[in-house]
Each structure stands twice: as structure tokens, then as C-alpha cells.
């Protein structure tokens, strides 16, 4: 009787669908949108390309910003699976699953005005410009590597950089 009862519970749980308290990628996308808004790149040609490296639900959220105009530049969002496939991006959003490709990404974009934003914490110490970090259990913030950003001739508004959890 008990086994049948448990089986019923499992069936109930499986049938209930899947929508849980999880990472809020809307907020990640909102941050990326504001990074685009409060940064400036040399020689922009009316577009800001945001490329998502790897699979992330943040891509779906960023797509909702596709075509919007920020400071006179149109946002273009795309997604690639390899660092070598990135062409003409102003922001590269590195999904958590592609964190190991950061070294290669830093190499292929060295000296170029490409702002690297990582989903995984702490990667601003390894060449990314921005790394997201969760503080106080639930608040999303970012760490920033201003040295790297300046090397890439990208300017970040002080209004934005002062919000950083930590700076290098």
C-alpha cells in the first residue's frame, strides 16, 4: 500500500510541470542593457552588438532588447557557441557553461574594444571586464576590472562603475 502511495506521489510531482525559483535572467539582461547604455566604444557605427557565448537563458531575455535604441545606437543580439565565431561584438556575455573558454576569448579579443561580461563570479580577475556576483544570498551585483576595460579603449560611466561590488 505504502509503495503504491509513494508511486502516486512521484507521478503527481512529475505531472506538475517545471517552473521553480531559479536564477532571474531578466535581471542579468537588465544589467547588460545598462552596461551597454553607460559605456562608450570608439568608432561605433550606429549599432551595439551583444553576443552571448554559449547557452544561457539570459540570451532569451536579451533578445527582448533586440532592436532597441540606446544613445542613438541600435542593440543587436546574437548567440555563438565558440569564441572564434565572434565577429564585431561590443559586448560578449559569457554563459556559465562557457567560462572555461574565457582564456581563449581574452586572447582573440586582446586590445580590441570588446567588453567581456561573465555570468560566473570572479572571472574579472582573469581578463573579463565585468563579472556578476550574488551578495547577501540574493542580490545581484557585479565586479569590474577597470584596468582591462581601459586597455580596450572602452569608457565606463562613473555612475555605473561606482555600483560595482569590487573594482580592480
Amino acid at each position: 500500500m505504502q509503495i503504491r502511495f509513494l508511486a502516486l506521489v512521484f507521478v503527481m510531482t512529475a505531472a506538475y510541470g517545471s517552473h521553480a525559483q531559479t536564477t532571474n535572467y531578466q535581471v542579468y539582461a537588465l544589467y547588460v542593457f545598462n552596461i551597454a547604455k553607460y559605456s562608450s566604444w570608439p568608432d561605433l557605427k550606429g549599432e551595439i552588438h551583444i553576443t552571448v557565448l554559449g547557452k544561457s537563458k539570459a540570451f532569451d531575455e536579451l533578445l527582448k532588447q533586440n532592436g532597441k535604441v540606446v544613445n542613438g545606437n541600435t542593440i543587436k543580439v546574437d548567440q555563438v557557441e565558440a569564441a572564434s565565431a565572434i565577429i564585431n561584438a561590443q559586448i560578449v556575455y559569457v554563459s556559465d557553461g562557457k567560462s572555461s573558454a574565457l582564456d581563449e576569448l581574452v586572447k582573440v579579443t586582446e586590445g580590441k574594444p570588446v567588453l567581456i561580461v561573465t555570468e560566473r563570479e570572479g572571472l574579472h580577475k582573469r581578463g573579463a571586464g565585468f563579472s556578476f556576483v550574488v551578495v547577501d544570498k540574493n542580490l545581484l551585483r557585479f565586479d569590474i576590472n577597470l584596468t582591462d576595460v581601459e586597455k580596450r579603449s572602452i569608457k565606463i560611466s562613473k555612475n555605473l562603475s561606482t555600483l560595482a561590488n569590487s573594482q580592480i
Binding site: Q2, T13, G17, Q21, T22, T23, V27, L30, F132, L139
Partner: protein, 654 residues
């Protein structure tokens, strides 16, 4: 919290669709949450669990943890602590001797030194035997929160927490305001219990205080007890009377607590009581932001297991057991948090336990104990690792070293725990005083695995498996009667248990439910013959093999709340009688206990509830948890019949 989450969500949505953000709007980013808003269930699950001694939520804490809130308790209509514990996987209530009841945990008798019970931080186990007696003790309405580790806690809590820890926080210590309650339990043939309590507290930034008091009167059963010398009406010949008065104050880093606790019980022949007072003071010194030191002193004075056999006698005789036990303790705890991802706790404790025979007017034994302990928590994106140890010894044993390691992580909806711990039971004053030969500390090797998945924000399924192997098991023995009575303690080589526990939680705004399943059985190679029953090798005496619980709560309106709960316990085998060949073990039939409780918020802060416990009148008996031998065998205590409950409570929170 719900309002704040909603506001944050609105801000998020607003920001998402707003293109003309100003610098002021940018500041709003600082308040955005990385995760979607918490459901009612997640609010419970995401709270830090203090009993695990590290700052992690229940899904990541380094232990198999159950947390029960005051709202859960109030809604269920639970009468006392045992009503709450019976719904926790692995817990059972059994008889020690002379109608004194104790806890079984994970299929083993855990009465002496195996489960540490803390009430507002004060250890409640007696100092002579490390026993915690239950039964109409800790009225449920006096409790704000219960945190339970269903697994070893020795590395943090020492030699009384070999199998588990129960941390009870009173209403007074856990809230800011005033509360009062009154509970009446009625059987068809008379009163079952009557408990009442008061609490008051004030929480300030620098200065806080609380006071808590409850008193109760009850009987062990409302049935008749048939014995060779006659029939006894247990309504009038037994009692389960608790009394507790406690309080505390804190000023900045200083924290002072006191408590007096009394519990009277016994069988139709004996009065048995546990009385004790304790004082605790600690002061937290914040050396800097990352490092703090907390020196503590504690003094406990008890008269545990006072026994006289004067029931019904007009000419009282001296008690047959009247000891005093004291503990004087000094401790220093250090906490070092070098970064967000690393925290370390370490410290040392010295305590002296002393026993004194009040009847003979002589000192019996003094134990000088010391211990060192350390625990580190290292958070990493792949897993949280907790590593710790405790080394404890006293002047009569060579020492116990118990390491632990726990790897836990919540990854989105999934969580896992891999736990290994050694744990120990330190021989107590009477274990040494009655030892046949030199006592050794009892030691356990415990492996645990838990997997959990959150199917929706409101739904969590957690499954754990464990294997406990205990060696040098400290076992009580007795023989003879009257002047020929002889008792002793000795170490048996091996015992233990293994099992699976399942917890399924569903919590929505208007209703919530929980289903638990427990499968527990003996391990191979048990040598404690007192636990063995002839009918099965899978169960120890008095323990069920399987248990299923079900609880459903529904808020009918904003004022009326309905709760129904059910416990299904499988067959048990226990020693019930004696014949010429010795003790006889019998099968105790499976039972189903079904309860119902309706709570009504009559006016603001004032609630009234009515309920029925054991609607089906299953009357589950309370069997002895071991083979007590020809003279030490106590037949099962007849179970209570259906009990009607009336509760009145007032709760004012500032």
C-alpha cells in the same frame, strides 16, 4: 518579505521597459535579486539553520535537517513535542522503564546520550544518564521553532548528540511581544491533560529580554493497566506534569539565561521526577569585522531520576533513588570569517560533572572533561565543503576523536548532500558508577546521502539514505529484585541501523501539505541481544520497520484554518510478558492515527481551536525499547484513547 519581493519585481519590470534611465534609476539595480521571488515554501527552506552551526539554508546545511515553525505547530494542533516529532522521519516514542518514555531515532533506541535536546540553548538531557524523558513535555504552543538534525551532531555538540540534535526555541526567545496559551485534552472518560503558559519578550537594538513559563498536568494514559497484582486506572495513578520557567537578557554582546525545569511522571507504583536549574552567560567580543571570541560559563544543577514508591501509601518510605548531579562548564568559542566564502569556528571547553547521593549523603563521582573542536566551511561554486572534528576526553576514558566531512550544494532546483561523520556518546556519571569494567565511549560511523529536487517553487521532494554503525555500545543491564537487585553498564561490540527517509513538501498560499516515508532496519552483526526480537531480524525491539505520515493544512478563510494529519506505523515487536522461560516478545499490530484540528482567529491576536487526536481510536501502545529481562521487563503502556483538544491562545507581536 512578500511585499518587498513584489516591490522588487515591479521595479525590475519597470526598469526592463524603461529606456530613459537616469543615474538615480541605476541605483535601483542595487536592490535587484538574482533569483525569482521566493515561494512560501522557499521562504522556509532558505532560512539559515542555526542548529547546523554554519550559515547555510536547510537545503545546503551539512546535515539532514528538519525545521518546524510555530505556524506549522499551531495549525497542526499538536499537543506536545512528541506530536510534532512523530511527523518527523525516523522518530518514535518508546518506553524506557517505569512508564518513563524516550525517543527512538532511525530504528535504534536513542534515549541515553544519543539525542541532545536543547531548549533556548540549554541542554535538557539529564547529567546522570544523559536521558531526555518525553510525554506531555514541552507543550507545543510554547514553541516558536524546532530545528532537528536527524544525524550525528557530536563534532559540534559533543558526547550527547551521537545520533541527533533537537533544538527548541521558545516563543519568548524567538519573538518580540507577549503570548499566552491554554490547552485542554479530554478523553471520553476524563481529563487527559491541561497545560498553560505565558511568555513576554522585548527585542531592542542593544538591550533585549524574555521571560517564559508554562505548567501542565496530564496522565500517561486514560486506560486501565492490568498487572499481576491488580488493575490500575492510569488516569489517577500516573502523571506527566511539566513545569518550566526561563528567562534571559542580552545587552550588546552579553547574553545571560536562566531556566528551571521540572517534569513529573511514573508508573502506578512510583513517583519519578526530573528537576533542574541552569544558568548560562556568554559575551561576544568582536575583535574586528572578521574575528570574534565568545567566552561562556554554564552551571547546571539537577535532581534527575528521583524515584520513590510511595504511591498510594499512607506511610511514605525513603526514596529508592535520590541523586544530585551538577555540571560546571567554561568554554571559549572563536569565529573567523576571512571572506564571504570561508568561515571557521573553533574553541575549547572544560566541564566538571559531579554526582552526589542525597540519601546516603556521599559524593559518588567526579568527571573532569575537556574538549577541543574546530569546523570550517568552504563555499565554492561547485560545492560547499564542511570539515570539522572534536576531541574529547575525561579523567576516566582515553578520549574520543570524531571528524566529519560534508559536501553539499544547491544547483538551481536540485540539491545534494554527501555526509560522513564519526560521532560518540560520552559515558555519563552513572555509566561509570555502574560500570562492570572500564567504560569506553560509544562511537558511530555514519554515512548519509540526500538528494532533493524542487519541481516547482511550491514543491520539494527530498530523499536521504543513511548507514549507522555503532561500536562499544553502552548498554544497561539489571537482574534480581529487592535486596538482590543488581544493575550495571557494559560495552557491547556492535549495533546500528540503516534506512531511507523521504520528505515531500507542497506549500501554496491557501494550503500546504507534507508526506514523509521512513524505512529503517537493523544492520548486520548487531551484538546487543537486548534489542533483538525473535520474530524478525530487520527490527529492534519496539521499533517499526516503516512509517508514513501525511499532513494537510487548508486556510478555509482568513479566520478559519483546517488541518488533518495521519500517521501509519507498521508492525512492531516488543517484549510484553514473562513466563517460566523468560521474557516473551509479541507482535504489536500496525496502527493508523488520524487527527483533525480546526483553528479560528476569533479576534485580532486571539485564537481558539478544537480538534480530535486519534479519531480512529487506534490507541497505540508504548512498548519497551529493549528486553529488560525477567525483573526489568515493563509491558507496553496502554495507549491513550481518542482525545478531544481545546486550545486558546493569545499572540501579540510588536
Amino acid at each position: 518579505m512578500k511585499t518587498v519581493s513584489l516591490q522588487l519585481y515591479v521595479v525590475t519590470i519597470f526598469l526592463l521597459f524603461s529606456i530613459t534611465l537616469s543615474a538615480q534609476d541605476l541605483d535601483s539595480l542595487m536592490t535587484l535579486e538574482a533569483f525569482t521571488p521566493e515561494s512560501e515554501l522557499q521562504k522556509d527552506l532558505n532560512k539559515d539553520v542555526s542548529v547546523s552551526a554554519v550559515k547555510l539554508s536547510s537545503r545546503e546545511s551539512p546535515g539532514i535537517v528538519t525545521v518546524i515553525s510555530s505556524q506549522d505547530i499551531v495549525n497542526s494542533g499538536a499537543r506536545d513535542l512528541t506530536d510534532v516529532l512523530k511527523f518527523v522521519p525516523g522518530f518514535d516514542v518508546l518506553q524506557d522503564l517505569q512508564f518513563v518514555q524516550g525517543l527512538g531515532l532511525r530504528g535504534s533506541w536513542a534515549n541515553e546520550g544519543k539525542v541532545l535536546v536543547l531548549f533556548d540553548g540549554v541542554p535538557m538531557n539529564d547529567l546522570l544518564y544523559q536521558v531526555f524523558a518525553v510525554g506531555n513535555r514541552f507543550p507545543a504552543d510554547a514553541i516558536e521553532r524546532i530545528e532537528i538534525i536527524r544525524g550525528p551532531g557530536s563534532a559540534v555538540y559533543g558526547g550527547s548528540a551521537e545520533y541527533g540534535v533537537i533544538n527548541i526555541i521558545s516563543k519568548a526567545a524567538g519573538t518580540d511581544g507577549f503570548s499566552a496559551f491554554h490547552t485542554t485534552g479530554l478523553h471520553s472518560n476524563g481529563l487527559g491533560r491541561m497545560n498553560f503558559g505565558l511568555s513576554a519578550s522585548k527585542k531592542g537594538k542593544d538591550f533585549s529580554w524574555f521571560l517564559n513559563a508554562y505548567k501542565g498536568k496530564g496522565n500517561t494514559s486514560n486506560q486501565t493497566y492490568e498487572s499481576p497484582d491488580g488493575a490500575y486506572d492510569l488516569r489517577t495513578t500516573t502523571e506527566q506534569d511539566p513545569l518550566n520557567i526561563g528567562g534571559g537578557l542580552s545587552y550588546k554582546g552579553l547574553d545571560v539565561k536562566f531556566m528551571y525545569d521540572e517534569y513529573k511522571t511514573g508508573d502506578p507504583y512510583s513517583n519519578i521526577s526530573f528537576k533542574g536549574g541552569s544558568f548560562l552567560a556568554q559575551y561576544q567580543i568582536k575583535v574586528n569585522q572578521k574575528f570574534s571570541l565568545t567566552p561562556k560559563i554554564q552551571y547546571i544543577r539537577q535532581l534527575p531520576w528521583y524515584i520513590d514508591e510511595n504511591k498510594g501509601k499512607t506511610d511514605p518510605e525513603p526514596p529508592i533513588f535520590d541523586f544530585r548531579a551538577t555540571r560546571t562548564q567554561g568554554q571559549i568559542d572563536a569565529a573567523y570569517d576571512p571572506s564571504r566564502k570561508v568561515s571557521v569556528n573553533f574553541g575549547g571547553v572544560y566541564f566538571q560533572d559531579h554526582s552526589y547521593d542525597r540519601y546516603a549523603k556521599e559524593d559518588v563521582l567526579t568527571l573532569d572533561n575537556f574538549a577541543f573542536y574546530a569546523q570550517g566551511l568552504f563555499k565554492h561554486r561547485l560545492a560547499n565543503t564542511t570539515i570539522g572534528f572534536r576531541y574529547e576526553k575525561n579523567n576516566l576514558y582515553s578520549g574520543a576523536f570524531v571528524p566529519r566531512i560534508a559536501i553539499t550544494k544547491k544547483i538551481e532546483d536540485f540539491h545534494f548532500k554527501l555526509l560522513y561523520s564519526k560521532s560518540f556518546r560520552s559515558p555519563s556519571l552513572q555509566n561509570f558508577s555502574l560500570a562492570l569494567v572500564d567504560m569506553k565511549p560509544e562511537k558511530s560511523n555514519v554515512f548519509e546521502v540526500e538528494l532533493g529536487y524542487q519541481f516547482t517553487p511550491e514543491m520539494l521532494l527530498a530523499v536521504n539514505a543513511y548507514h549507522i554503525s555503532t561500536k562499544d555500545v553502552i548498554i544497561y543491564g539489571s537482574e534480581g529484585d529487592g535486596d538482590d537487585f543488581n544493575e550495571w553498564y557494559e560495552n557491547y561490540s556492535k549495533s546500528g541501523s540503516k534506512g531511507i527517509e523521504v520528505v515531500y513538501n507542497l506549500k501554496r498560499k491557501k494550503w500546504y501539505g507534507q508526506i514523509t516515508y521512513t524505512l529503517q532496519e537493523t544492520i548486520d552483526g548487531n551484538t546487543v541481544d537486548k534489542f533483538v526480537v525473535p520474530q524478525t531480524s530487520k527490527q529492534y525491539a519496539g521499533m517499526p520497520h516503516q512509517k508514513v505520515t501525511f499532513n494537510l493544512n487548508y486556510a478555509l478563510t482568513t479566520r478559519f484554518n483546517l488541518n488533518t494529519s495521519l500517521i501509519q506505523v507498521g508492525a512492531r515487536y516488543a517484549y510484553t510478558d514473562v513466563d517460566d522461560n523468560g521474557p516473551i516478545a509479541s507482535k504489536l499490530s500496525p496502527y493508523t492515527q488520524w487527527n483533525f484540528f480546526l483553528n479560528c482567529k476569533v479576534v485580532k491576536n486571539f485564537s481558539a481551536g478544537v480538534g480530535v487526536f486519534d479519531i480512529l481510536n487506534a490507541k497505540p501502545v508504548v512498548p519497551q525499547a529493549y528486553n529488560g529481562g525477567v525483573n526489568g521487563l515493563y509491558p507496553p503502556i496502554p495507549g491513550r484513547t481518542r482525545e478531544f483538544i481545546v486550545k486558546l491562545s493569545y499572540q501579540f507581536n510588536r
